[in-house]
C-alpha cells in the first residue's frame, strides 16, 4: 500500500507545488526555485524507492476510486519504462529549474513560469503513470494546455501568442484523435485498463476497425511528437523561454508521442500497416528535419528542427518494432533528452550573454566563453553521433536496426540509405553550429559583450554533458541495468540479451556511420558560405512552408468559411427564419410519417357530441378571427384570442382534466391583463400600413396561408391518427398506481408535479423566475414609443377624481373581493395534493387578486397600504424548493425525494402533509412573485411616464 500511495504522491506533489508556486510574490525567484527544485528532488527520491519494484518486468498499480459507475477510477501504474521516463522528467526538470533561476530576468513574473513548469511536470507524470487509457488522454491534453501557457509566457510578444496558439491547436486536435482512438480501443478490448488493452493486442490487430484506430492513434502521437506533416508547430514554439524549450520541447513533452507509440506497440504494433505508417513517417521526418536544420540561422530554430529529426528517428525505430529496435528507441529517448536539453541550455546562455541567437552574427565565442564552448561542442558531438559520446551508441543501434532485414518491403530496403543521408545532414548541422558560433574571428557587433555565465547557470549544462560522456564511454555500467529494466517493460519477457559496448568491431553500422560523418563534413564545408549567409532555407523549403499553410487553413476554417456560410445560409429577418423553421419541421414530419399506414377507422359522431362541436365552432371562429384581426384591431384580436382560450379551458373540463382547466382559466386572466397593460404602450394603428395591399404583400400572405393550412391539416391528421388508435401501456398507469402509495396524494397530476417529477418542476419555476427578472430588467430602461407617452384618451378627458368615480362600483367590489381571493388561493393550495388545485393555481390566483387591487385603485393608493415584494417572494420560493429538495440528502435520499403523511390539524381536520407540500409552497411563492413582478413592472410604467408628461415632454 505504501508503494501505491507513493505513486499517487508522485503525480499529486507537482500539482500542489504548482498551486503554491502561483501564490508566491512576483519577485521571489529564489523561493520559487527552491520550491520547484525540492519538488523534483522529492519525485526523484520516490522514484529511487520504487525502483526495486519495477525491475524484471514487474509493475505497481494503485487504484483510487473515482467514478466507478462509468468505469473511471484513478489508476496509476508504473513499470520500468515509465520509471525511466519519470527519471528524465524529474531529473531534467530539476536541472531546468536551476537553469531558469539564472536565465529569467528579474523583471519577468517568475511565479507564472514555475507554476506552469510544475503543473507540466505533474501532467507529464500523470500521462506516464496513467493505468487507464482515458485518463492518459486527459493528462495528455493537460500537457498541451500547459505547453500553450508556457509558449505564450511572454504574451506581450506577437510571435509567442501565435506560436502558443498554433501548438495548442495542433497538439490538442491530435489529442482529440487520440481520445477517439482510445475509446475505440477500450471498446474492442472491453476495458479501459491499460494492461487489459495491451494484453488484447492480437484481438485488436485483426479487428475491422484496426486501420481507423491506428490512424487516429498515430495522428495523436505524430502531432505531439512533431512528426511530418505536423512538425511546423515545434519551431514556432521556440518563442517560449529557453528553459521551457529545453524541458518541454526537446526532452519531455514532445517525447510523449513516441512514448505512446512504444507503450501501445504491444496492442497496435507488429503489422505491415504499422510498419508502413510509423516507419515511413518517421524516416520522412528524420530526413526533412535534418535537411531544414542545416539551413536555419536561428540557434533555437536549428535545434528545433534537429529535435524534429531525432524524434523522427525514434518514431522510425518504433515502427520497425523488433526487440532490438525498441531497445534502441528507449536508449535514444534518453540520450537525445540529455544532449538536446544541454544544447538548448547552451543556446540560451549564448542568447543571454550576447543578446542574439542569429548564427550569422555569432562568431568566435570560444575565446570569450571557453567553458560553455567546450560543453556545447561536446553536446553537439553527441548530437552528430561522434564516438565516445552517448549519441553515437544509439545512432549505431539505429543504423543496425535499419540495416538488418525486417520484412523486405520497399520501405525496408530504402531505410538504410535514408538513415545515412539523414546522419550526414545531422553531422553537417552539428558541425555548422560548432564552427560558426565558437570559431572564426570574434564577433564585433553583438548587442552585449560576451562573457561566461554564472557558475550555477552553467552547472546544469555541465552535468548533462558529463552524462553524455559517461554514457558514451561506460554505457553498460552507467545505463545498462536501467535500460534493461525499461526495455523489459516495453518488449516483454522475450527480451534478447544485450550489452551496450562501444566497440563492436568493423561492422556495417560503423561503416554507415563513417560514411555519414564524412559526407556530413562535405555537405557543410563545401557550400559553406552560401549556407552561412543565405536566407533561411532554400527556395523550395520556403515554398513548402507548412506553418503558412496552417495559418491559411485556420483562417479559412475560422473566418472565411463561417462568413460564407453566414452569407449563404442565414435568412435575413425574423420572418424568413421562422418560415424556414416551420417549413423544415413540416418537411421533417412528412419525411418521417410518409411511410405510415394511414388506414385509421372513420370516426363516429354521436348526437351527444353536438354541444362539443358547437363549442369548437365558436372556438375555431375565435381563433380564425383573432388571426384575421390582429393587425389592425388589436383589442378585438385579444378578446377573440381569449375566447379561444376559454373554449380550450372548457375542453379540459369536458375531458376529465379539472387541474388543467383551473390553471388555464387563471393563466388566461393573467395573460389578458398583461396584454392589456402592454397594449397601453403600443400606439393605436390609425391608418393602413403603406404597401400593405400591393401585389407582393398579397403574394406573401397567400404563401404563408398555404404554409399555415398545411400545418393545420398536418396537425389534424396527426392528432386524429393518434386518437383513433388504442393506446398501449402508458407510463401514466404507473403514476396512477403509485401516486397514493408513494406520493401520498390522490390528485395524480399534482403528485407528479411536486413529487415524482419535482425536478422538472424545479427547473421550470427557475425559468419562470428568470423570465420575471428579465422582464423587470428590460423595463427599467424602458423608453415608450413617443406616440404613447401621452395619457390614454379617456384619461385625458377626465380628471383623476372623475376616473375613480367612473370605476367606483367595480372598484369597491374588487376591494371587497381581496380577502375572498386570498382565501380561495389558500384553499386551492391546501387541497392541491388530493383535489384539483396546487401551487401553480394558488400562486396565479393570489397574483390576480393583487392585480385587481391595482386595477381598482391607483397605484400609489395601493402601494401606500400594501407592500408587495415580488422579488423576495421569488427568492424565497426558489430557496424553499431547493432547500426541501436538498433536505432529502440529510436522510440519505436523492435530491427532491418526498415524504408524505396525513397530519391532523385542529379545526381544519385531517390534511395531507408531505414534504412535497413544502415544495409546492415554494412553487406557489415563486409563481406569485414572478407574475406580480411582471404585472407591476408594466403597470408602474404609467407612473414613471406620467410624471414627465405632467411637467412637459422630456422623453425623446
Amino acid at each position: 500500500m505504501v508503494e501505491q500511495n507513493l505513486l499517487l504522491l508522485l503525480v499529486l506533489t507537482p500539482f500542489v507545488s504548482a498551486a503554491l508556486a502561483a501564490t508566491l510574490p512576483i519577485g521571489a525567484r529564489n523561493a520559487e526555485a527552491w520550491l520547484a527544485g525540492l519538488t523534483m528532488i522529492v519525485a526523484l527520491v520516490i522514484l529511487g524507492v520504487l525502483y526495486p519494484a519495477v525491475t524484471d518486468g514487474q509493475s505497481i498499480t494503485g487504484t483510487f476510486e473515482w467514478v466507478s459507475s462509468v468505469g473511471l477510477d484513478l489508476t496509476f501504474r508504473i513499470d520500468g519504462f515509465s520509471w525511466l521516463f519519470m527519471v528524465l522528467v524529474a531529473g531534467i526538470g530539476f536541472l531546468v529549474i536551476l537553469y531558469a533561476r539564472y536565465y529569467m530576468s528579474p523583471d519577468d513574473p517568475v511565479p507564472r513560469l514555475y507554476s506552469c513548469l510544475l503543473a507540466f511536470a505533474g501532467a507529464m507524470s500523470g500521462l506516464l503513470l496513467s493505468g487507464n487509457i482515458i485518463m492518459l488522454v486527459v493528462f495528455w491534453e493537460l500537457t498541451s494546455i500547459v505547453s500553450f501557457l508556457l509558449i505564450g509566457y511572454w504574451y506581450q510578444r506577437q510571435d509567442a501568442r501565435d506560436g502558443a496558439r498554433m501548438s495548442l491547436i495542433v497538439t490538442a486536435s491530435g489529442g482529440l484523435c487520440l481520445m477517439v482512438a482510445m475509446i475505440i480501443l477500450g471498446q474492442i478490448a472491453g476495458s479501459y485498463d491499460l494492461e487489459a488493452v495491451l494484453a488484447a493486442g492480437p484481438q485488436i490487430t485483426i479487428h475491422r476497425l484496426y486501420p481507423a484506430v491506428l490512424i487516429l492513434f498515430v495522428l495523436g502521437a505524430f502531432t505531439k511528437s512533431a512528426q511530418f506533416p505536423f512538425h511546423f508547430w515545434l519551431p514556432n514554439a521556440m518563442a517560449a523561454p529557453t528553459p521551457v524549450s529545453s524541458y518541454l520541447h526537446s526532452a519531455t513533452m514532445v517525447k510523449a508521442g513516441v512514448f505512446v507509440l512504444l507503450r501501445f506497440h504491444p496492442a497496435l504494433g507488429g503489422t505491415d500497416l504499422w510498419f508502413m505508417i510509423v516507419t515511413g513517417i518517421g524516416l520522412a521526418t528524420l530526413l526533412l528535419g535534418a535537411v531544414i536544420a542545416l539551413f536555419r540561422h536561428d540557434l533555437k530554430g536549428l535545434l528545433a528542427y534537429s529535435t524534429i529529426s531525432h524524434l523522427g528517428l525514434i518514431t522510425a525505430l518504433a515502427g520497425i518494432g523488433t526487440p532490438f529496435a525498441l531497445i534502441a528507441a528507449v536508449f535514444h529517448i534518453v540520450n537525445h533528452a540529455v544532449f538536446k536539453a544541454s544544447l538548448f541550455m547552451a543556446a540560451g546562455i549564448i542568447d543571454h550573454e550576447t543578446g542574439t541567437r542569429d548564427m550569422r552574427r555569432l562568431s568566435g565565442l570560444a575565446r570569450a566563453m571557453p567553458v560553455t564552448a567546450a560543453l556545447a561542442i561536446i553536446a553537439s558531438g553527441a548530437m552528430a553521433g561522434v564516438p565516445l559520446l552517448n549519441g553515437f551508441l544509439s545512432k549505431e543501434m539505429f543504423f543496425q536496426a535499419t540495416y538488418v532485414w525486417n520484412n523486405g518491403s520497399f520501405l525496408d530496403n530504402f531505410a538504410p540509405y535514408v538513415a545515412v543521408v539523414a546522419g550526414a545532414f545531422s553531422a553537417a548541422y552539428s558541425l555548422r553550429f560548432i564552427v560558426t558560433v565558437f570559431f572564426g574571428p570574434p564577433a564585433t557587433d553583438l548587442p552585449h559583450e560576451p562573457h561566461e555565465p554564472p557558475l550555477l547557470m552553467r552547472l546544469p549544462v555541465a552535468i548533462l554533458v558529463a552524462i553524455c560522456l559517461a554514457v558514451g564511454i561506460f554505457p553498460q555500467q552507467v545505463l545498462g541495468t536501467w535500460l534493461q529494466t525499461a526495455s523489459f517493460a516495453v518488449v516483454g519477457p522475450d527480451l534478447p540479451h544485450f550489452s551496450l559496448k562501444i566497440w563492436h568491431g568493423v561492422n556495417p553500422p560503423l561503416i554507415m556511420s563513417m560514411i555519414a560523418m564524412t559526407l556530413g563534413a562535405v555537405i557543410y564545408l563545401i557550400p559553406r558560405r552560401v549556407i552561412d549567409s543565405g536566407e533561411d532555407g532554400t527556395r523550395i523549403m520556403r515554398k513548402l512552408d507548412f506553418a503558412h499553410g496552417f495559418d491559411w487553413l485556420l483562417q479559412m476554417l475560422t473566418t472565411r468559411l463561417p462568413r460564407l456560410a453566414l452569407r449563404v445560409l442565414s435568412a435575413n429577418g425574423l420572418q424568413a427564419q421562422l418560415r424556414a423553421m416551420v417549413l423544415l419541421s413540416l418537411a421533417a414530419s412528412w419525411f418521417v410519417l410518409r411511410t405510415l399506414d394511414w388506414n385509421v377507422p372513420m370516426p363516429k359522431i354521436g348526437a351527444n357530441e353536438l354541444v362539443f362541436a358547437l363549442l369548437w365552432l365558436v372556438g375555431g371562429t375565435c381563433a380564425v378571427g383573432a388571426a384575421w384581426q390582429a393587425k389592425y384591431h388589436r383589442f378585438a384580436a385579444l378578446v377573440l384570442m381569449g375566447g379561444a382560450g376559454l373554449v380550450t379551458c372548457a375542453t379540459f373540463v369536458w375531458l376529465s382534466a379539472p387541474d388543467l382547466a383551473v390553471t388555464q382559466l387563471l393563466v388566461e386572466i393573467a395573460t389578458t391583463a398583461l396584454l392589456l397593460l402592454g397594449l397601453r404602450w403600443l400606439p393605436k394603428r390609425d391608418k393602413e400600413i403603406p404597401g400593405d395591399n400591393n401585389l407582393a404583400a398579397r403574394a406573401r400572405r397567400s404563401r404563408d396561408l398555404l404554409i399555415a393550412l398545411a400545418c393545420g391539416t398536418g396537425m389534424t391528421a396527426l392528432a386524429l391518427a393518434v386518437l383513433l388508435t388504442t393506446p398501449g401501456a402508458s407510463v401514466g398507469d404507473w403514476f396512477l398506481r403509485n401516486a397514493y402509495v408513494e406520493g401520498g396524494g390522490t390528485n395524480v397530476v399534482n403528485v407528479i408535479l411536486v413529487d415524482f417529477r419535482a425536478f422538472d418542476t424545479f427547473g421550470e419555476i427557475t425559468v419562470l423566475a428568470i423570465v420575471g427578472l428579465t422582464v423587470y430588467a428590460l423595463l427599467r430602461r424602458f423608453r415608450p414609443a413617443p406616440e404613447s407617452v401621452e395619457r390614454p384618451r379617456p384619461q385625458l378627458d377626465a380628471e383623476e377624481q372623475a376616473l375613480e368615480a367612473y370605476l367606483f362600483v367595480p372598484a369597491v367590489l374588487m376591494q371587497w373581493m381581496f380577502a375572498p381571493i386570498i382565501a380561495l388561493s389558500a384553499y386551492l393550495f391546501f387541497r392541491g395534493h388530493d383535489l384539483p388545485g396546487g401551487g401553480f393555481a394558488a400562486g396565479v390566483t393570489l397574483a390576480v387578486g393583487l392585480l385587481l387591487q391595482y386595477v381598482a385603485a391607483n397605484v400609489r393608493w395601493v402601494e401606500a397600504r400594501l407592500t408587495v415584494l415580488p422579488v423576495r417572494w421569488m427568492a424565497s420560493g426558489l430557496t424553499i424548493s431547493a432547500a426541501v429538495g436538498a433536505g432529502s440528502w440529510i436522510f440519505g435520499y436523492p435530491f427532491l425525494s418526498a415524504h408524505a403523511q396525513y397530519v391532523d390539524i385542529p379545526v381544519i381536520g385531517k390534511v395531507p402533509f408531505s414534504t412535497a407540500m413544502l415544495f409546492d409552497f415554494g412553487v406557489f411563492s415563486l409563481v406569485l412573485g414572478a407574475i406580480v413582478l411582471m404585472l407591476i413592472a408594466i403597470a408602474h410604467q404609467s407612473l414613471r411616464v406620467a410624471r414627465p408628461s405632467d411637467t412637459g415632454k422630456e422623453l425623446k
Partner: protein, 114 residues
C-alpha cells in the same frame, strides 16, 4: 369527439402559424398564444380522451388505470401552460421596448424595403 378535437387543434395551429409568420410583433404574440393552445391540446390528446372519467383517485389501495384519465400528459400540459405564459410576458415586454426604441412594430425593428 376525436374528429372535433383534431379539427380544433388544426384550426388553432393553423391560425397560430399564420400569425407567427406575419410581420407585426403583436400578430406574432397572438400567434404564439394560439399555437400554445393548439399544442397544449395536442399533448393532452396524446393521453387519449376520457369523457367523465374520475380525475381523482380514491384513497389507498390499487386502482385500475383504465378507469382514470391519463395523468402524465396533464402534468406536462400544466407546466406548458405556465411556461407559455412566461414566454408571452417576455415577448410582450420585448415588443413594447422594441417599439419604443425603433419606432416601428415590425418584427425586424425596421420596415421592409419595397
Amino acid at each position: 369527439m376525436e374528429l372535433i378535437l383534431a379539427l380544433a387543434i388544426g384550426v388553432l395551429v393553423g391560425s397560430g402559424v399564420w400569425l407567427m409568420l406575419r410581420p407585426r410583433s403583436y400578430q406574432v404574440i397572438v400567434g404564439l398564444c394560439l399555437l400554445a393552445y393548439g399544442v397544449n391540446l395536442f399533448i393532452f390528446a396524446m393521453g387519449r380522451l376520457y369523457v367523465g372519467a374520475a380525475p381523482i383517485m380514491p384513497k389507498g389501495g390499487f386502482v385500475d388505470p383504465t378507469a382514470y384519465a391519463d395523468p402524465l400528459p396533464q402534468a406536462l400540459v400544466l407546466t406548458a401552460i405556465v411556461i407559455s405564459f412566461a414566454t408571452t410576458a417576455l415577448f410582450l415586454v420585448l415588443m413594447i421596448a422594441s417599439r419604443g426604441v425603433t419606432g416601428t412594430d415590425h418584427v425586424d425593428g425596421k420596415e421592409r424595403h419595397s
